[in-house]
Symmetry: C2
Subunit: 453 residues, 2 copies
């Protein structure tokens, strides 16, 4: 049995839904279909989810939202018309949305959650209707009915463990199931959404719940690329990735598959196949527990910017038991999560995401560390980029660090930081943001130029 | 004004004391002389301090120590005879030692401290007598009289801040002062020693106290070498080092100058000149706040073995605020101090000195981290060596990491860990102990083979 998830761009138009139908119809194992809300049809189109959020906010502020509501309905309507569906489904979607929008607003957060989630929910109803119209035995299943229970963290829900057992029952349904992504229900029966792009998470939870053989994740690219295509033109495709590799790449900005979405599949060892709705014959990228090591030590290069470093120097620091722990405690009191903590003998550097800082927090941290820990020097630097070389083969291969640092040196790039050996699947380089792209290109050239995929 | 300290080998015989006399007599600025106890005259000789420790233990156990006492006295006596000193000084040393040994033993730790310290104390008296005999205006000054107050940590005393002001008065004495190293007095007037080789510390404290222009530290090598001479034959000498560079080198086993001894000199920005008693004309090595950057980015290569790594893996670790801090807290509860904490996305490695571990502690740590922190994997590995490339110039120079890792790769050495960027003066490589020397040689070849000193 396969769980198959389609992203927003795969469902943005009637022509796209047509492709999705053929993908499902072509393989009887594709029994559970998870859908996003309709995404962009062209680059400056607006996603239905974004329209819904604006709409909910207008309703909460008592502003006129009739134009927005019409735009949203028209998105579903144009899909339905392209597919020659009867008006009944659009009338139902329209009624449901208007009922929702005019409903209870005593808890604004809950209201927004429900409106946001309606994008997926209504799209699942529409897709089920389209499948049926084409003669497939298919029906919509609600997360409530299926028992997808989640924690009560709006916009950041976590699946509750008891869900898995309930979801297992979906195996017994003979029809193709069309299931909305992105949300579940809390124990009070209210809608709670996952983080943005959370339909990937729903698919992964369902794959785990029904113990699928594979979780197919259809999007609009042929594969996960070895490097960001905005930095390197026509980069190599990655055929096989381990969960850990995918996670390390995601960390530094690979957005093709949602970070958290890997967990349920990972826990149940279900392979994830990233594929292209527009080119379903392409093999895509397979993410799994272990892969055969081929094509050299590095499988992908990721990079991300907007990191800051907090440098703390104190003579004889390494003789003070508890010094590092005390610094981390201070950061924790400011609500900061750290990314890395490289340390020397008398110095420690804490790398954090820059968006957690502002002038006031920085001042507070510097003062606390200076006063409480009697540090000689505390210094915060901004605009650091981290570049990750990712690959399970790296640890075994002598000379990967040498190749990487040589490539950077030859491109005349100063390395602010190297972190190698802490992770078994990656090696990290810190550089100034201004040279990030240049550094990524130099590393790509070194590790991929001569590799065939 | 110069404070000049002589190590044990510089004072092991009459001929050596003769050299010391000439060094002091040749420069009227050399006003304060700090002396160690007589050291080894040949490689399997025994240091007087070690004889004294054995002697004190025998006295405490009620065993016969007359042979040892005689050996100790004979060490001073042979120096006195070589220098044609009168018997008076040896009689005094002998009387003092016997009085001490037959004295109060109600606090065995204090007893051992006093006996240990007598090695330096009596040698200072002997050297002062020798200087006077040769016509120099010189006299012994006791740390008690001078006001060198220390904390009550036997074998690990720290200078009390009020000492510095008192020591300043030593400037007013017209004679050359001969001062015993290695110990001070607690506020109860009892002897407390510094850590082993602590005469370096006494010299540094005195240099700070009298605001010396320079602190000359005489030992038996021409200079600090760029690498351990037991690993590389005839290594280059280092002309100039910063305090930070010296400290980083000391950390990984450079023992020519005592680690803690740098602090008082560092705080008062007093340059430290490491020189050779047997070749006083050689310029030696100058340790100071800043140096001119010359001879490439690396000034020295140090290495040390017997490190262990504690690896902790947990999926999604980096999303848990406080995870790193909680690990460090557990280590702290086991009394462990960590050296480095390289971390990845889902993994953190804690590098510790191996001598802090044993099977029971390891089991305890693994259990605590697994249970309390719900880690996926905890693994301890032993026998890691750390190699430090040290040099203030390193950060500015593109390509140092590339040269280093290439040199290691060409020697077919797998790098277990790279830590670069946390310290501004060093770069650290972790390798298996079995390849430590090979790695050091490869790095020395890369950075020093073509460098003229």
């Amino acid at each position: 049995m396969k769980v198959v998830k389609f992203g927003g761009s795969s469902l943005a138009s009637g022509a796209q839904v047509e492709k999705v139908y053929h993908i499902i119809a072509s393989d009887p194992d594709r029994k559970i279909v998870v859908v996003s809300a309709p995404g962009k049809r062209y680059s400056d189109d607006i996603k239905v989810t974004d329209l819904l959020i604006s709409c909910a906010e207008k309703y909460l502020n008592g502003e006129d939202a009739s134009g927005l509501v019409e735009t949203i309905i028209s998105r579903y309507k144009s899909i339905a018309e392209e597919l020659n569906l009867s008006n009944a489904i659009i009338n139902k979607i329209s009624d449901d949305l208007l009922t929702l929008l005019s409903g209870d607003k005593t808890n604004p957060a809950s209201f927004i959650e429900a409106v946001k989630a309606s994008g997926e929910d209504n799209n699942a109803k529409l897709v089920a209707a389209a499948f049926k119209h084409k003669g497939m035995d298919a029906h919509y299943v609600s997360p409530k009915e299926a028992g997808l229970l989640v924690s009560n963290d709006p916009g950041n829900a976590r699946v509750l463990p008891e869900s898995y057992q309930r979801l297992y029952a979906l195996r017994d349904q003979p029809d193709v199931i069309v299931f909305p992504g992105f949300f579940g229900y809390n124990t009070d029966g209210e809608v709670v959404t996952f983080s943005r792009s959370g339909s990937d998470i729903t698919g992964s939870i369902l794959a785990n719940g029904v113990k699928a053989d594979i979780y197919e994740n259809f999007t609009d690219v042929d594969a996960v690329y070895a490097v960001n295509p905005h930095i390197v033109e026509n980069p190599k495709e990655i055929r096989e990735l381990t969960y850990r590799e995918m996670r390390e790449l995601s960390y530094c900005g690979f957005s093709v598959f949602h970070d958290e979405a890997l967990i349920p599949a990972f826990r149940a060892s279900i392979p994830v196949n990233v594929k292209n709705t527009n080119n379903p014959e392409a093999p895509g990228t397979l993410i799994m527990s272990a892969r055969e090591n081929r094509n050299g030590p590095v499988v992908g290069i990721a990079s991300d910017d907007k990191f800051s470093s907090i440098y703390v120097g104190k003579y004889m620091m390494n003789k003070e038991i508890g010094f590092g722990r005390k610094i981390l405690l201070i950061l924790e009191e400011f609500g900061l999560s750290f990314e890395h903590i490289p340390s020397g003998i008398d110095d420690i550097t804490i790398i954090v995401r820059q968006n957690q800082l502002n002038e006031k927090i920085e001042q507070g941290i510097v003062e606390r560390i200076k006063n409480d820990l009697d540090a000689d020097e505390v210094r915060i630097e901004h605009n650091l980029a981290l570049i990750m070389l990712v690959g399970e083969g790296m640890r075994q291969e002598v000379g990967t660090a040498a190749r990487a640092s040589k490539a950077l040196a030859e491109a005349n790039i100063n390395i602010e930081m190297i972190n190698q050996g802490s992770s078994e699947t990656s090696m990290m380089f810190g550089v100034k943001e201004t040279v990030e792209k240049k550094a990524v290109r130099a590393l790509y050239e070194e590790f991929f130029a001569s590799v065939r995929v």
